[in-house]
């Protein structure tokens, strides 16, 4: 294979990884998957990759490929874009592989020029060539490669087209000698900064001195941080003064002056290499795209999507599949066999109880996780995968923007919110794609407080459907109200400005079955790793508390809160206790109580509202701490838990007053 012989050539000059860089939603993760054989989550919305994924290049285990979050331009705009900036400045790189959208060359080249200036070997993969052809865009790639002095490879990654050529190009990569001339004042300042870098003996900069200087002049926060780490405070102040004095020479901000020079250069290239026939915006996909964001039809389509989601997850997943697994498979086949086997094989009653007793590791922990929760999450992640790949979610962001505006957010918040219906912990990580710290904090708070994950949603729906439809309405009404009121209040209390919506709408595409399956499996794997240990810990905790008599004491101690304030039976304390580990675990405990006929309809609704407003799970608290800080995580726990009991108690009084379900 040519690629195999060519690749190691690069090693002689540079060490390090190859960074996959490009705009959001251009197919970086598809290429990463094809080049490494490693599974990563891929979707049809900008911002799918929020963390770095690493993998060895197929046939070359010593070469690491790094998949980075999409970036529009440098300086980066959001936290996930900053992750990409950090890779370029902090990671030793042997090459950069830019993935660009072939049908939007102007936008692609705006980033190419910035990357070419960095002086790291660069290869441009112009992806989605099939879509470019459909849209009537033809490109003179030979001329483009000549202009930029870098290899330009046409690819259609989803169909594995152009991958071999790409590997060969990576093997022959060398630092591009690309130099764009900026206005004379900027060139003088860049030369001064470069002289200072040389005087400071900053030999080992990851990117060229010139590019570092341009990023600094543009006000790039990642470069500022890098310089803080590598040069003295005094030198940094001198650079700051230089930038300020340079700014006085221009009316426009420096970043705009620099960007405008690049755009003017790109314009020349685009007019020479792009030929458009104007086939453009026609077809069923375009019509459907318009309907999904239409002020009236958009909501009708959303209602249809929600109904389909309810049917697939609620009726099929939580109803039929859970029934088959819990009642038939586990209830009649697996559990009786395991209980009998354990009783026969283990003569110690304490161990028998620990494994298959009321709070046993198998009978409580594994049965809850596998028979009750797994079918619900599986069906949710499958439907979410289809939604992601279709490109519907960014349209939902546009449609719902007005609603989010009321709670100080913009429509982009819908992406983590919808993902939160699958898993709040994953969704907390996704908040990185929001632009401001304030928005991320607000969405994390709302996710932790009032967005139930699919596991919990399934259990809650299962219980409430058994009571009445009014119970479902009360529960969702209270949660919706809490979401709006807390969102509105928090938006007014948390300082800072709201960011306005600006989102790219990718083309609507048919979801690819293999991709949906691969990512559902990846998510289920992630979920099982997170859920099963917590369910087992919960079961052991409950078993030990029960055995030592502490559970009884807790039930007695919790009586004023459970019975006096919430109007629930004292045994509900046990369910709320495990609710601290995972709120769906708590809900499952209440589900068991309800099926034993221990709860009235009013008590069911109050218990479900209270447990739904709890902190989602220990894993999500740890994720909040990782993404923000331990202080923030602790503050949220301290606000959310009393608030959940407050709302539950108030609802209990209100329902008693009107005499509903007493």
């Amino acid at each position: 294979m040519q690629g195999q012989t060519a690749l190691p050539v690069i090693d002689q000059n540079r060490v390090g990884s190859i960074a996959l860089v490009g705009h959001p939603n251009v197919g970086k993760s598809v290429l990463f998957q094809k080049l490494t054989g490693q599974r990563v989550i891929i979707a049809n919305y900008p911002g799918t990759t929020i963390e770095l994924a690493r993998g060895s290049l197929r046939n070359f285990p010593e070469i690491t490929l790094v998949d980075t979050p999409g970036v529009i331009a440098f300086p980066p705009h959001s936290e996930d874009e900053q992750v990409t900036g950090r890779v370029l400045l902090y990671e030793p790189l042997r090459a950069i592989l830019q993935v660009g959208d072939a049908k939007n060359l102007r936008r692609t080249l705006a980033l190419t020029v910035q990357l070419a200036e960095m002086g790291v070997p660069l290869v441009l993969a112009l992806n989605m060539m099939d879509e470019a052809r459909t849209r009537g865009v033809s490109l003179n790639l030979t001329l483009l490669a000549e202009y930029l002095a870098i290899p330009v490879i046409p690819t259609t990654a989803i169909r594995s087209q152009g991958l071999q050529e790409l590997k060969e190009a990576l093997g022959g990569g060398h630092p591009p000698h690309f130099r764009l001339t900026y206005p004379v004042e900027i060139e003088t300042a860049v030369a001064n900064v470069c002289t200072c870098f040389a005087a400071m003996r900053l030999q080992e900069t990851p990117i060229s001195h010139r590019s570092l200087a341009l990023l600094w002049l543009s006000g790039d926060p990642v470069t500022e941080r890098w310089l803080q780490d590598h040069i003295s405070e005094q030198a940094l102040q001198e650079f700051g003064a230089l930038r300020q004095s340079l700014q006085t020479s221009f009316v426009e901000p420096l970043s705009i002056i620099i960007q405008s020079a690049r755009l003017a250069y790109i314009e020349g290239i685009v007019s020479a290499v792009v030929h458009e026939t104007g086939a453009g915006w026609h077809g069923v996909s375009t019509t459907l795209s318009r309907l999904t964001t239409h002020p009236i039809w958009g909501w009708a389509i959303l209602a249809g999507v929600l109904y389909a989601l309810y049917w697939f997850v609620g009726v099929f997943g939580a109803g039929i599949l859970v029934g088959l697994l819990d009642e038939n498979l586990f209830g009649q086949v697996i559990n009786p066999w395991i209980v009998g086997w354990v009783n026969r094989m283990i003569p110690v009653p304490f161990l028998v109880d620990l494994l298959v007793g009321e709070y046993g590791l198998w009978t409580m922990g594994m049965t809850y996780a596998l028979a009750l929760i797994l079918p619900i999450v599986l069906t949710f992640f499958l439907s979410f995968g289809v939604l992601e790949d279709s490109g519907y979610l960014p349209r939902l962001a546009a449609l719902s923007n007005r609603l989010f505006r009321r709670i100080g957010l913009n429509g982009k918040a819908v992406l983590p919110m919808v993902l939160g219906l699958g898993c709040v912990t994953m969704a907390t990580l996704t908040t990185r794609l929001l632009e401001s710290k304030r928005e991320r904090l607000l969405v994390i708070l709302l996710l932790a407080l009032a967005v139930p994950c699919s596991a919990q949603l399934g259990v809650v729906m299962g219980i409430l459907a058994g009571v009445s439809f009014t119970a479902v309405l009360i529960w969702s009404g209270v949660l919706g109200l809490v979401l709006l009121v807390v969102g509105w209040l928090a938006a007014h209390l948390i300082p800072g400005e709201r960011t306005q919506l600006l989102v790219e709408l990718p083309p609507l595409r048919w979801p690819v079955l293999s991709n949906v399956t691969v990512k559902t499996v990846a998510r289920i794997e992630w979920y099982i790793k997170e859920v099963i240990p917590l369910f087992l810990i919960g079961a052991v905790l409950m078993f030990l508390l029960d055995r030592t008599g502490i559970l009884n004491w807790i039930i007695q101690a919790g009586k004023p809160l459970m019975v006096g304030w919430l109007g629930l039976p004292p045994e509900a304390s046990a369910a709320f206790l495990v609710g601290f580990l995972r709120r769906d675990f708590g809900a499952t405990g209440l589900f068991v109580m309800q099926s034993q006929g221990l709860l009235t309809p009013m008590q069911v609704v109050v218990a479900m509202v209270t447990v739904s407003l709890f902190i989602p799970c220990i894993a999500s608290v740890m994720m909040i701490a990782k993404e923000r800080s331990w202080g923030t995580a602790l503050a949220m726990v301290l606000i959310i838990i009393p608030f959940a009991f407050l709302v539950g108690g108030l609802l209990s009084r209100l329902l008693t007053l009107i005499g509903w379900g007493v």
Binding site: N104, L111, E131, W281, T293, Q500
Partner: protein
Amino acid sequence: MHSGCNLVCCPACGYQTVDPQRSKLVRLARYFRALKTSAKYASSGRDETTLAEVSPGSKAEVIGFSEEFPPDQRAYLQAYGLVPNHWVQVVQHSPVTIVRLDNLELALEIDIARGIQVQKISKIEAETEK
């Protein structure tokens, strides 16, 4: 006076003239005058305004950004391709403004659209530009 009468009459001197509110003839004249004005506008074809004022289906040429526009926001829009001297086509304004540029669709809030200065062109000219 019967209902079809278009005249107004001075009660003192008896002078009669056409009532412009009632006269079908005057309304017809006004209609033709408006048509002439719009044809004149179409022939010049240019009108400086903001993206928010461009009606759905029409094209406009970006000419600049409002002074109040934050520089990072502007740089972000420019990186997407919303740069001076380029055409955009407005798809809709509600619930958000959606524009097409090159082969890209962007959804943006109306407040952002208000900060983008454009030159409207007539549909005839837009077709020619195509």
